[in-house]
C-alpha cells in the first residue's frame, strides 16, 4: 500500500472481536488489518475505521 495507513484507535482494539466467531483479533500493523484466524478473515481498516463486514474482509487462504 502506498497511501499512509491511518492506524486503528487502541481503545477499539480492546473491544473488537471477530463478528462471526466472536474470537479475539490480532492487529497486523503492516497491512493495517484485523486478523481473525478462527474465521480465516482479515478485516481492513480504512481511514482508521475498522470495516468489520465479512463481505469486505480478505480471505486468508487467498493471500
Amino acid at each position: 500500500m502506498t497511501e499512509t495507513a491511518v492506524p486503528v484507535d487502541p481503545r477499539l482494539l480492546e473491544i473488537l472481536v471477530c463478528p462471526l466467531t466472536k474470537q479475539t483479533l490480532t492487529y497486523d500493523r503492516v497491512r493495517n488489518e484485523l486478523v481473525s484466524t478462527a474465521a480465516g478473515l482479515a478485516y481492513p481498516i480504512r481511514d482508521g475505521i475498522p470495516i468489520m463486514l465479512p463481505d469486505e474482509a480478505r480471505r486468508l487462504d487467498e493471500a
Binding site: D9, R11, L12, E14, I15, L16, V17, C18, P19, L20, K22, T24, A39, Y43, R46, D47, G48, I49, P50, I51, M52, L53, P54, D55
Partner: protein, 317 residues
C-alpha cells in the same frame, strides 16, 4: 460453540455474508439495499427530525441515577453521538455503512447489526435510535447487543412501530390498486408495540419496557416527505419489493390521495421506545415460585383481615 441465534444466520460454510442464499426465504429485508441506502443517505438534510427522535429517546437517561462511561451508538446518523458526548459519555459509533459510521465524530466501526464485532461487556450503554428496523434477525441482534453490555448496562432503542407512515401506505395501496389492480409492498412491515416488549424479554433483557411516542410531521409539499425518507436512508429495502420502475402515475396519484389538514399533509411517526437492562444481581428479582408462606386460600378467605407484615413471598407475580 455457535449459539442458536448465530447458527440461524449462517450459511453452510459457517460464514455469513458469503452464503446467505440458503435461508434467504426467512429474510424480509435486502441488506445490500439497506447498505446502499445508508451509503447515500444525507442525514444532515433531516437532522431536525432525527435529532427530535433521538432527544425523546435519550430523555430516558435523565430518569436514572446511573452514570455511563462508554456507549455504543448504533446507526445514530450524527445526532446521537453529540448528544451522548454532551452528557460526558465516550461514544463508539457503528453503522452498516462505513461512510455514515465515520461522520459521527466519535470512534467509528463499520459493522453489520446482525453480526456485531464487540466483546462481551464492552459498554454500559447501547443506544439505537431508529436504526434497528431493517434487520432480518432482530432477536439475534438484540441478544448480541445485550451481551455487549456490562451487567446492569442500559439498552435504549426506538423503532418505527405499526402506524408509522400509515397515511402513505394507504395512499400507495389505493393508487396502485387503481392503476394496476394489485399492490406491492412499498412500505416496510413495522412491528406492533406489543411485539416490541416481547422481543426485549426474549432477548434476555431485565425490566423491559416498551412505550409509544407519536410524532406528526406536517408537509406542505408531500414530495418533500419522499425526499426526507431518502435523505434518512429509509427507502424501501423489503426483499420482495417490486424492483420494476413504478408506473409514472403511481407516486403523483398516491401523493394526491394523502389526506390534508389545513392544506398540509400530516404524516405519523409512531415510535416504539424500548428500554431494557442487562441482567445483574443488584436488580429487583422475581421470587422463586413456591417460596410463599401464606396460602392463597387463607389470604382470600380473610378479606377484612389486617394486611400481614411485609411478606416478600406474598407479592403478586
Amino acid at each position: 460453540m455457535l449459539s442458536d441465534y448465530r447458527r440461524e444466520g449462517l450459511g453452510s460454510n459457517g460464514r455469513a455474508g458469503h452464503d446467505r442464499s440458503m435461508n434467504e426465504s426467512m429474510h424480509v429485508f435486502d441488506r445490500t439495499a439497506v447498505r446502499r441506502h445508508r451509503d447515500r443517505a444525507r442525514p444532515g438534510d433531516v437532522e431536525d427530525i432525527l435529532r427530535d427522535c433521538a432527544e425523546r429517546l435519550l430523555d430516558r437517561l435523565d430518569d436514572t441515577h446511573h452514570r455511563f462511561g462508554r456507549a455504543l451508538d448504533v446507526g445514530g446518523r450524527c445526532v446521537v453521538a453529540p448528544l451522548l458526548r454532551e452528557r460526558g459519555i465516550e461514544v463508539v459509533s457503528t453503522d452498516l455503512s462505513p461512510v455514515q459510521a465515520g461522520q459521527n465524530g466519535s470512534l467509528a466501526v463499520a459493522a453489520d447489526e446482525e453480526f456485531l464485532p464487540f466483546a462481551p461487556a464492552s459498554f454500559d450503554l447501547v443506544v439505537a435510535s431508529l436504526s434497528l428496523h431493517w434487520i432480518n434477525d432482530l432477536p439475534g441482534s438484540l441478544i448480541q447487543l445485550r451481551r455487549a453490555l456490562r451487567p446492569d448496562g442500559l439498552f435504549l432503542a426506538s423503532l418505527p412501530a405499526l402506524g408509522t407512515l400509515a397515511e402513505l401506505r394507504a395512499a400507495l395501496t389505493e393508487a396502485e390498486a387503481t392503476l394496476s389492480g394489485g399492490a406491492a409492498p412499498r412500505i416496510s412491515p413495522f412491528p406492533d408495540l406489543r411485539d416490541c416488549a416481547g422481543l426485549l424479554q426474549r432477548a434476555g433483557f431485565a425490566l423491559p419496557v416498551a412505550d409509544a411516542d407519536d410524532i406528526t410531521l406536517l408537509y406542505a409539499d408531500p414530495l418533500a416527505l419522499l425526499r426526507d425518507l431518502r435523505a434518512a436512508g429509509e427507502t424501501n429495502a423489503v426483499r420482495l419489493r417490486d424492483k420494476r420502475i413504478p408506473p409514472a402515475a403511481l407516486f403523483p396519484m398516491a401523493l394526491s390521495l394523502l389526506p390534508r389538514q389545513d392544506g398540509r399533509v400530516p404524516i405519523t411517526l409512531r415510535l416504539a421506545m424500548l428500554t431494557g437492562w442487562a441482567p445483574a444481581p443488584s436488580q429487583p428479582q422475581p421470587l422463586k415460585p413456591g417460596s410463599g408462606t401464606i396460602s392463597l386460600t387463607q389470604a382470600l378467605s380473610e378479606p377484612d383481615a389486617p394486611p400481614s407484615p411485609p411478606n416478600p413471598a406474598g407479592s403478586a407475580r
